[in-house]
Symmetry: C2
Subunit: 432 residues, 2 copies
């Protein structure tokens, strides 16, 4: 019989134990930041009705990239982000939740697109959302940015410093209106701005020409990225309002202790959801990872599920994009994760297993990670080799003598020194 393949499907992540410990450690550190910020941790289904995931009017581009399937008469699929399920959940629990509602999700999402280098088809994102009924201060946009900033800082020993770039959808809306663009031109230009980072300046200019065919207007749009927003003050009320919102917001971020924020009007966050300020976090030392986290404000989160208007600000941290990539590319020093076992318990003679089990239980009860080697027919040499291979800090050796005297032999695997101790003293030695 042919053997089946042992590699996971391309685009799926599978880590070794030592890598997984680092991944889990970083997740726990970041989640603790969110917990201290009072976000409720939600765990929603990975499978949703197709009608929840897709909406022919708006979701064509995403539909083709989904895992969709059918069971009985029901069409369903795997979620591609956390927002679609959250919208449904919040709309369905308006009376069970307290608003502004702070929610976080750390979960796997799925993209059915063709696997490409550096693109995952199953990946973790860590979402933060704050939602209000009918109104929500933009102070909350700053709070979300501040919390993400702290979450990323909590793992900066691995990923280095970050920067947050803030853009404004209202600024572009106001500028397009000022330039008298029609609906189709607005959309084309906005798509170009969204992709500007990935195009050369020449392609961008050419795209603008195709869309507008008006050298004055093209020049005005290009000037945003050269001269900044200041030159657009006193042009229209809407532009002034958008610029004031943005500059006030940057002052607020600064006042809240976010010192690594910068305006960048090329931040657009695609066509979906967002209606207000938008932002993206980048890792300064890892430009190859692109956007580490991104989000913004949406004026009507759950309009498809409820007549109640839910206004929110939300963001997703690309957890797998950051950590799975860096781990797979050996960009993280894993030495602090090498030792996960405190004590290998080595047992000479099968009649001593019950005594050893008592020792193991005492160790674990005292917070010592203890792994017994239970193939008691193996020689001491094999057993100590195992202790060495699993990087145990100590070996606790138990033979007839130790059982008779109600002690253990404790060997420090680094220094090689060995002493005979009571179990209580051995625990003291291992936990000091």
């Amino acid at each position: 019989m042919d053997l089946k393949p042992t590699k996971p499907l391309s685009g799926f992540i599978e880590l070794l134990p030592v890598q997984q410990r680092c991944f889990d450690y970083c997740a726990a550190k970041m989640q603790n930041v969110l917990r201290l910020a009072g976000f409720s941790m939600l765990d929603l289904p990975a499978i949703e009705r197709a009608e929840v995931l897709t909406d022919k009017d708006n979701w064509d581009e995403i539909e083709t990239q989904m895992f969709l399937f059918q069971k009985g008469d029901t069409k369903m699929g795997l979620r591609y982000d956390g927002t679609v399920g959250l919208s449904r959940y919040v709309a369905g629990h308006l009376n069970d939740l307290v608003f502004p509602f702070r929610a976080s999700q750390f979960s796997k999402r799925y993209r059915g697109e063709r696997a490409q280098r550096g693109r995952y088809r199953e990946f973790y994102q860590m979402d933060l959302d704050i939602m209000g009924i009918n109104s929500l201060s933009t102070n909350y946009d700053a709070e979300i940015i501040s919390v993400i900033n702290r979450a990323l800082e909590s793992v900066s020993e691995f990923i280095g410093p970050n920067i947050v770039l803030v853009g404004s959808r209202p600024f572009w809306d106001a500028l397009f209106e000022y330039l008298n663009l029609d609906a189709s031109q607005k959309k084309s230009v906005f798509v170009l701005i969204d992709k500007k980072d990935k195009m050369g300046d020449a392609d961008f200019a050419e795209g603008l020409q195709d869309a507008l065919n008006d050298s004055n207007k093209e020049k005005v749009i290009k000037s945003v990225f050269v001269d900044g927003y200041e030159t657009f003050m006193n042009k229209s009320e809407k532009l002034d309002a958008a610029i004031a919102e943005l500059t006030d917001f940057m002052k607020l971020l600064d006042g809240m202790g976010v010192k690594n924020a910068k305006i960048d009007l090329s931040i657009a966050r695609g066509l979906a959801y967002y209606t207000g300020l938008v932002f993206e976090f980048k890792l300064i030392n890892h430009p190859e990872l692109g956007t580490a986290a991104g989000g913004g404000r949406y004026a009507d989160l759950a309009g498809k599920f409820s007549k109640t208007k839910i206004i929110g600000v939300g963001a997703a941290i690309g957890f797998s994009r950051i950590f799975a990539s860096m781990l797979e590319n050996n960009q993280i020093d894993l030495s602090q994760f090498a030792n996960d076992v405190d004590a290998a318990v080595l047992i000479m003679g099968n009649n001593n297993v019950a005594y050893a089990a008592g020792v193991v239980n005492a160790l674990r009860g005292a917070g010592v990670v203890a792994v017994p080697y239970l193939d008691t027919d193996k020689k001491f040499k094999n057993q100590i080799e195992y202790a060495d291979k699993i990087n145990a800090r100590f070996s606790v050796i138990i033979g007839d003598d130790e059982v008779a005297k109600n002690v253990v032999a404790l060997k420090n695997m680094k220094s090689g020194s060995q002493e005979t101790l009571s179990v209580a003293d051995a625990i003291k030695e291992m936990t000091k």
Copy 2:
């Protein structure tokens, strides 16, 4: 436009924040037991190649219950258990892992069957497996049972006491051989034994008659459940060996401190995988949940992936089966999970947001869960109502006076008492 449905698909679990906190708390407690026992936490893909999930020879019954789908030329599907992915992973990383290898997975699994009451189509299981190359002492079977026992005990305040029932596949193999059953009879009788718990005695007797049509043999098999295994000693070498293995194993469990174990030869664990001792945990106070955890020994885990023989003992804890069921049926007192916020930070006047943000950061830095209310245009009455609704233990109130004096007003939400304190003293008060 019609609104889309807000309920999840049937068979999918969705908890409220307070329920989720209990779910997560129990998961963390149990996972800590596994961590102290030195299990490596693995996180494998939820999607596998169809050829990995299915094998027409052995998996017909499961195939129809899977979520299978296709992307491009590749047929794939969602995992229905943790073992299939683990087998592939271990076979693919023989040189990266140290054996005996201890692995744990806490992850979502999927059953595509028609949704029924109490059956989930997406559910968490917590797996433990210990795997050896070519050999592995049955001491490890006892170790797995001991660790599951401790994991369940760690959450006994919610689920009550448990009992573990131990069965033996070799006993039945030896008895079938002693009774000269042919291959088809062996299979039929084994299926009956596996389903005995769910059938009445009359149906079981009728099934035996259909399968064997031999009243003597039928009587012998029925007697196992009445007289126990003792009457089968000295009948054949294989029976004696199987009985000795089982009785020695029970002594070992007792010696290891597992005092709630009992032999039950009706424990069979289906047709798949298992070749040695098998076991099931039941919750004494929750018979309606059926099997809380189950597992056993398999002689050749990864034979489809590797020529290396991997022997193992493994088990899955039905985490959603236990906790999602109990939470959905309001069988858990959630009062200890009602308060997850220590401090609601209430801000009088938008000019005080930056000061308040500094206070919030100081609180969180000291481990105080702090939620600022940032709709600063709302009246104090609305703000204190919010603090009350989110069950905050304290309100930290900040207005112009507090900012001027560099203090906060700290209100104990239970006693109603309020005092003006420095931020440091407020933190002391909230963390004492």
